[in-house]
């Protein structure tokens, strides 16, 4: 019998995929799972954050956005349970989007940082005489440096930084300061020019009658507002004639910086601009109202008097004199306008320099005296101001306008309860409006004191009404201008028969008395 040796069974094919690893490195393989199996956030995290954001948006009043956002979160939560694979894909897509946004923001923030700080650093170190990369030490006797002492380095082993031995040699501090100075000037110029608009300041000119006035024909655009000055130095959008157009009710407002409104508003946002706009909106069908603001920063009654003497009342039907108590005693020679430029500067820094110089000059020359002092000179000025107030009213009547309304401006810098009589400043009391009232009484002029407007206002309301978030107690923010415009409408309605007639309003007694408008939230 033939016994053949059976041929060995063929060995199973092996490949890199089928080759089994041996019993080693189990912990290492587990350690690598963090790379092969990326971790996902816990399932509850996404809906919790999402619904929290939606809830927050609801609370702050963004209701539609909250509903949309909350719905999307709810859909994603549902998807997580119904089709987790798709949910993961969506989350992955969102994560990629987030990474892209992060990268874009990185570029947006880091590029300018590099392009601004980098060249400056290069110039600065060069001027300082430092050479951190040793590029200028080709002729040095040796290129070895001494390291920090070993004991210092050893002590520092736990820190993530080296303690470096500073290389010998002086530093050109003067040069560095010069560079810093130049850079500061450049940065200052750019900021003052493009943020504050100081390169294009409002210009003033000397005037024999009114002391000074705004240069006519200016068109100033700052980063925050715009000012247009017409042919009569009024902050008004177009030139005007001394004679009013036919069928127009013209109101002339005589005021100071409060009426001017600040360069952080447009013409139309001042209370004079709003007054004109609202009058035309409310009563404008077939009628036309004009409100001419003869209001200039730093003006007092003497300036207004001079202005009216020179230009007349522009055939106004009503004249409103709205004056800050603190401006009453400004003499015609007050230096407040000289801090402003008479000609366009080449650089924004020039404006600041002029303003600073004038401030210094004023303090040195005038001894730092401002207008609010209680000595004999101060009282004399105050008397003159009060007299000017009276003369102003009389001149207006003389120039042909019978209706003159005096309004004390509601301002925080004065004690609201003592509005009528006293002002507290520096511990002393000045009887500003009291003195003015006594003068006005002699010619039957009436001055209104709108205490109601400011009474009982909360901090939030105050911050809303006054400029700089309530810090500027004498000037109005946009809301303040709006409230005062409405107040003036009320005053015209209450006090001006001519206005009532033109506007077609009933006479007092024939209809409800118009009430003073209260600030509303």
């Amino acid at each position: 019998m033939n016994h053949e040796t059976p041929s060995p069974a063929p060995l199973p094919m092996l490949s890199p995929e089928t080759l089994q690893d041996g019993p080693w490195f189990e912990n290492v393989k587990r350690a690598y799972e963090v790379r092969t199996k990326p971790s996902h956030p816990p399932k509850w995290l996404v809906p919790v954050i999402g619904f929290s954001i939606a809830g927050f948006l609801w609370l702050i009043g963004w209701r539609k956005t909250a509903i949309v956002g909350g719905s999307i979160v709810a859909v994603m939560l549902l998807l997580e349970f119904v089709h987790p694979v798709t949910a993961r894909k969506v989350q992955k897509g969102l994560a990629m989007f987030g990474a892209w946004v992060g990268q874009a923001i990185g570029w947006l923030l880091l590029c300018p940082l590099f392009l601004i700080v980098g060249p400056f650093s290069r110039v600065f170190t060069r001027v300082m005489g430092a050479d951190p990369l040793g590029r200028r030490m080709a002729n040095a006797p040796s290129y070895w440096h001494f390291g920090a002492p070993e004991n210092v380095r050893t002590k520092n082993t736990a820190s993530m930084f080296c303690v470096e031995r500073k290389s010998a040699g002086g530093r050109n501090w003067l040069g560095a300061l010069a560079v810093l100075g130049v850079l500061g000037l450049i940065v200052g110029e750019l900021v003052l020019r493009f943020w504050f608009g100081f390169h294009d300041p409002l210009l003033y000119m000397q005037d024999a009658s009114s002391g000074y006035r705004m240069r006519p024909g200016q068109d100033i655009r700052t980063g925050r507002g715009e000012v247009h000055v017409n042919n009569y130095s009024m902050r008004y959008h177009r030139d005007v004639t001394a004679e009013k157009p036919a069928d127009t009710y013209r109101i002339l407002v005589l005021s100071d910086s409060t009426g001017f409104g600040g360069e952080y508003h447009t013409n139309e946002q001042t209370y004079c601009g709003l007054l004109e706009k609202r009058l035309n909106e409310r009563y404008g069908s077939g009628k036309k109202f004009e409100v001419l603001p003869a209001c200039t920063n730093g003006w007092g009654p003497q300036h207004l008097l001079g202005y009216i003497w020179k230009n007349g009342v522009f055939s106004a039907d009503s004249v409103i004199v709205a004056m800050s108590a603190g401006n009453i005693d400004r003499p015609l020679t007050s230096m407040s306008a000289t801090r402003y430029l008479a000609a366009k500067p080449s650089f924004a820094l020039e404006t600041v320099a002029v303003m600073l110089c004038d401030d210094v000059k004023r303090r040195l020359v005038t001894g730092g005296r401002d207008f609010y002092h209680d000595d004999a000179e101060g009282i004399k000025q105050h008397e003159a101001g009060a007299q000017a107030f009276l003369d102003l009213g009389l001149t207006i009547r003389e120039k042909g306008c019978a209706e003159v309304f005096y309004e004390a401006l509601p301002q925080l810098c004065y004690d609201q309860d003592c509005f009528l009589a006293t002002v507290a400043r520096g511990g002393k009391f000045y009887t500003y409006y009291q003195r003015v009232k006594e003068k006005l009484d002699t010619a039957d002029f009436v001055m209104e004191y709108p205490q109601e407007l400011l009474k009982g206002l909360g901090t939030r309301e105050v911050n809303d009404i006054f400029a700089k978030g309530g810090k500027d107690e004498g000037h109005y923010a946009e809301r303040g201008h709006s409230i005062y415009a409405d107040y003036l409408i009320g005053q015209l309605t209450a006090r001006s028969a001519a206005f009532r007639k033109y506007a077609g309003l009933p006479e007092p007694g024939q209809a409800h008395e118009p009430k003073l408008p209260r600030p509303t939230p």
Binding site: I53, V68, F97, G102, I105, L109, L113, S159, M160
Partner: protein, 54 residues
């Protein structure tokens, strides 16, 4: 917690580095960069929630 601990450690080391080496400018720059890093991180994390703004 780990992130916070190490974040404060880095801030501390940056501050001490600036002081010991009198390199205040560089230390300030690194702090600015870390701040930018936080903003980038926050933006990347919160960007997916951008749909809540629509």
């Amino acid at each position: 917690m780990l992130h916070l601990t190490w974040f404060f450690r880095i801030i501390r080391d940056v501050a001490v580095y600036g002081w010991k080496n009198r390199s205040f400018g560089l230390a300030a720059m690194i702090l600015v960069l870390l701040g930018i890093g936080l903003i980038i991180g926050a933006a990347a994390v919160s960007a997916p929630w951008i749909y809540t703004l629509f």
